[in-house]
Amino acid sequence: MIKITNLEKIYRTEEVETVALNKLSIEVKGGEFVAVMGPSGCGKSTLLNILGLLDDPDAGSFVFNGIEVAKFNERKRADLRKHNIGFVFQSFNLIDELTVFENVELPLIYTGVKSADRKKRVEEVLDKVQIMHRRNHYPQQLSGGQQQRVAVARAVVNSPKLILADEPTGNLDSSNGNEVMQMLTDLNEQGTTIVMVTHSEHDARYSHRIIRMLDGQTVLENIMV
């Protein structure tokens, strides 16, 4: 599903040049659950942003579902993104002005799903993450764990093929964290590909494979058994 080769990303500020990704090559197959680990600043989030088509690489190739997307313009990237990719962030990133229901509904609006259809699908996923009873609450009225469940719901409502999660449990206690990890595992079992960045060895154990990074390069890959 994903194949990147010799990917480079360099951040230039006035004083310094930071090589965030240095000739990185990775392959992720459809249906896989991959964890990315590594010390702070090694380029994990950068990698995820590129995989999620939020950012473009400076060099290298990125083939997504058999299409070379490294040189896509913003419009094309947005189009590809909204139909194929769901995101879960460490800091939830829900819109404060919208209710739980409306937050989850948003991706469907952007992909042009009809209103009646939207309602059905949002209710379905809210049911699945057991947050249906808070559908009319605003994010601030929820606990961290509940917010992250809403974020997961929002990520999956469009039934994306790929879910990218950047430290999804980073702001949660262990029991809430486990719940979220269980949800991701369930999704993966239903066929969704997942790439997850994490600092926690515990969480990484939910995955099939761990990619370890250092200074923008992969140093090791562990296959889980």
């Binding site: 947005a78 409306e102 952007y110």
Partner: protein
């Protein structure tokens, strides 16, 4: 999709009530102000558009050139109307009218003066009045016919069903009412005219009108459809000269559409802008006020960008493209503007009476009128897009990766600079308006305080009705004996409008090639002393008018123009009619145009031509008792006529109506611009304080004083006001300098006005900003630091 934007917009409005209030209040004030100005503009540009055949209506203009200067006016010769209709193809109708006659009407014991016109019956084919009663095709079936407005009909009879009834005119002649017309709207000429009678009545009493060389009445023309006014004007070149060699008049027809807003001519006789200048100026100011209000919106929206950034980021991650976000933010600002417009309508309803009072009109806002509702929507659309455009492009361009990483947005350079520039624009406009207001008022004061060369206080004049002229001597004697008045006199025109003039004067040594236009006034011997004019040379007229019937007194300007050594005793000839000896020179006094130096003038000692009685009250007298004393004396000698009079100083004040209106409006605009700008500044300073709350906390912990912190937070704003002043000063100077060029008599622009305006703006800004700055500076630092 739109529902979603709407929800976010409304919740955002609600969540940030304070800023929403500032935004909506500023925009609403701006829209209301612009709305009021546009109502005024609408009234002005639709002036005289009441008649259905507007495009075919013209007025004949007469231009005369003396010594290289062309004067353009409405007075035309009597025979012109009939003759041009017969001679020139393309003219459908012509009609003569008088300038306006105040005539006494009586019915039983009701006696009222009413303003009216003597008109040719063709007048009613040119101007399509609505006839409520009577026959429009034949309005004057007999000589003493009277067409009245429904207003006047109601006043006398309480009904409009009065065709065939009679009213007595000037206590002499019965006139038969032959038609009643609907009252004219306020913005139509003839609006103050309440009756019409056949021109023949006037013509018969004024035989001099028969001559081509005398200009005394107005001529209106209705052209055939598809007739070009140029073709008619070509035929009019030399038209009067071909009838009368002596005449110095060139005629042309002048379209109805320009009567109100132009009708102003330069020294070469070319049309220049009249009232349209103010229409344009005020429209421009209306838009500027709107822009100032929109700037508030842009500034507060971009200042709040950090709060909105995460939303933008999340939306982008979820697949929103830039154009969708732009659309969303524009929709938001349109919703905001729409709410402001609703508030503005309420504001307009409440302020319209005061505004009407100010501009002396009866404007009304009619939300059912398509023009008004469409204009309002256009204003909403334009200001909504204007206000929303910058925030929309700015906010939608955020990079989601940066935003979601909680990187501090590089809010500094770009956005900050634009925000500051916008504030600078707001304050520049405010400073310019303050300066203009002050200078306009100074100019009005300056002219009002001008030494007129006569004493306008305690002086009244009235037109000579009934037996007033015949009984002048006993009236005067009684006024003086009773101690009411100091003096009284007769004159052909009132003190401020010395109307008639002639180019037909000559004297020894006059360059025969140059004609000089000289004003003529016919007075009783007491006139100069009654008015309080001062003699420079020679003597005043003798009390016995007959003794001075061949003598004249001239003004200083004429004396200078004559260029003779001994003015006193020199002879002035008036055409072939007579020779007059100059016995006195009166010190220059101001008449007709308060802004220029007086034109040459001759006083003839001939009370026979008088139209006005002037009375000077004693300076120490109580005006109310003096007036009632005067009234009873005049009633005694002139029974059957109501006593109507005017104070010269009141009439004088009326001359400043136009300028006073401009001054008042400039003041209102200045105040509004400042209020709107301060609303914006208030919001902006709150944000600055909020954004720097952590810095303030740390500084405070490290020992900074409240005063020091307040200064730190205010410094930026003060600098902006300074820059505004630097931009505003030259612009204001240039605007006022060119405005003042219109007035020959004008104030010098003094530097302290600029200094004062700058200081005022600075103070206002300081008060606005320091409120937030002090609030932030005295807050408990522990709280703000723990928030992170």
């Amino acid at each position: 999709m739109f529902k979603n934007y709407f929800k976010i917009a409304v919740r955002n409005l609600w969540k940030t009530k304070g800023y929403s209030f500032l935004n909506i209040a500023g925009l609403a004030i701006g829209i209301a102000c612009a709305g009021l100005i546009f109502l005024w503009v609408e009234d002005e540009v639709t002036y005289d558009q009441y008649y259905s055949n507007n495009k075919n209506i013209y007025k004949v203009k007469n231009s005369q050139t003396y010594d290289g200067t062309t004067f353009v006016f409405d007075a035309t010769p009597g025979p012109l109307a009939q003759s041009m209709k017969a001679d020139i193809p393309g003219i459908k109708t012509t009609a003569r009218t008088t300038w306006g006659n105040r005539v006494l009407f009586s019915l039983d014991d009701k006696t009222i003066y009413e303003q009216g016109l003597y008109v040719d019956s063709g007048f009613f084919s040119i101007f399509h009045f609505r006839f409520l009663k009577g026959n429009a095709a034949n309005p004057f079936p007999q000589l003493h016919s009277l067409v009245v407005t429904s207003d006047m009909a109601e006043k006398f009879f309480g009904t409009t069903d009065i065709v065939g009834k009679t009213l007595k005119v000037n206590n002499e002649q019965d006139y038969v009412i032959t038609a009643v017309i609907k009252d004219l709207p306020e913005n139509a000429s003839f609006n103050k005219v309440h009756w019409f009678s056949p021109f023949r009545i006037y013509g018969e009493n004024n035989q001099w009108l028969q001559e081509w060389g005398n200009n005394g009445i107005i001529t209106y023309v209705q052209t055939e459809d598809n007739t070009n006014s140029n073709s008619i004007n070509k035929k009019l070149v030399g038209y009067v000269k071909s009838r009368n060699k002596e005449a110095n008049s060139e005629m042309s027809i002048y379209p109805n559409s320009r009567w109100r807003l132009y009708d102003s001519f330069d020294k070469n006789g070319a049309e220049k802008e009249g009232r349209i200048r103010y229409v344009k100026l005020f429209s421009l100011i209306a838009w500027i006020i709107l822009i100032i209000a929109c700037i508030n919106f842009m500034n507060l929206a971009t200042a709040r960008s950090e709060q909105r950034a995460r939303e933008v980021g999340v939306r982008k991650v979820l697949g929103a493209v830039k154009s969708k976000l732009i659309f969303q933010f524009l929709a938001e600002s349109l919703i905001m503007t729409f709410i402001s417009a609703l508030v503005a309508v309420v504001i307009m309803y409440f302020t319209l009476p005061a505004f009407n009072n100010l501009v002396e009109k009866h404007l009304s806002l009619n939300l059912l009128a398509p023009l008004h509702i469409i204009s309002l929507l256009v204003i909403v659309l334009i200001s909504g897009l204007l206000a929303g455009s910058y925030p929309a492009f700015y906010l939608s361009s955020f990079n989601p990766v940066m935003v979601l990483k909680k990187l501090k947005l590089k809010n500094g350079a770009g956005a900050g600079f634009i925000r500051k520039s916008l504030v600078v624009i707001q304050f520049s406009v405010s400073v310019i308006l303050i300066i203009c207001t002050v200078i306009i008022y100074q100019q009005i004061r300056h002219t009002k305080d001008r030494d007129l060369g006569f004493n306008k206080n305690n002086l009244v004049f009235m037109s000579l009705q009934g037996k007033l002229k015949d009984n002048f001597t006993p009236i005067k004697n009684e006024l003086l004996q009773s101690g009411i008045a100091e003096n009284a006199s007769l004159s052909s025109s009132d003190e401020l409008q010395y109307g008639s003039n002639s180019g037909d004067f000559s004297w020894d040594g006059k360059d025969p090639g140059k004609q000089l236009l000289v004003s003529m006034v016919f007075v009783s011997p007491e006139h100069l002393s009654t008015a309080g004019m001062k003699l420079k040379e020679g003597r005043d007229f003798y009390p016995n008018a007959a003794a001075d019937s061949n003598n004249v007194i001239i003004n200083e300007t004429l004396a200078k123009a004559m260029k003779t050594k001994n003015v006193i005793g020199s002879i002035i000839s008036w055409g072939d009619e007579g020779k007059y000896t100059v016995v006195g020179v009166v010190k220059d006094f101001i008449y007709n145009n308060v802004y220029t130096d007086p034109a040459p003038l001759i006083f003839f000692c001939n009370p026979g031509y008088a139209n006005y009685l002037s009375i000077r009250f004693r300076p120490d007298s109580d005006i109310r008792t003096a007036l009632s004393g005067m009234e009873s004396i005049i009633k005694k000698y002139n029974p059957g006529y109501p006593v109507e009079y005017n104070f010269v100083d009141d009439v004088f004040d009326m001359y400043f109506k136009g300028e006073t209106l401009v001054g008042k409006l400039a003041a209102v605009f200045a105040v509004l611009a400042i209020i709107i700008s301060c609303l914006g500044l208030f919001g902006l300073s709150a944000f600055t304080a909020e954004n720097r709350i952590k810095e303030i906390g740390i500084r405070k912990v490290l020992g900074a004083s409240t005063g020091g912190l307040a200064t730190l937070l205010s410094k930026d704003f003060i600098r902006m006001v300074f820059i505004s002043c630097i931009i505003a000063f030259p612009i204001a100077w240039w605007v006022m300098h060119s405005w003042l060029q219109d007035f020959e008599y004008r104030v010098a622009i003094s530097w302290w006005i600029f200094f004062g305006a700058g200081l005022l703006a600075l103070l206002i800004a300081l008060v606005t900003v320091s409120f937030q700055a002090v609030k932030a500076a005295i807050a408990n630092p522990v709280k703000s630091l723990r928030m992170e």
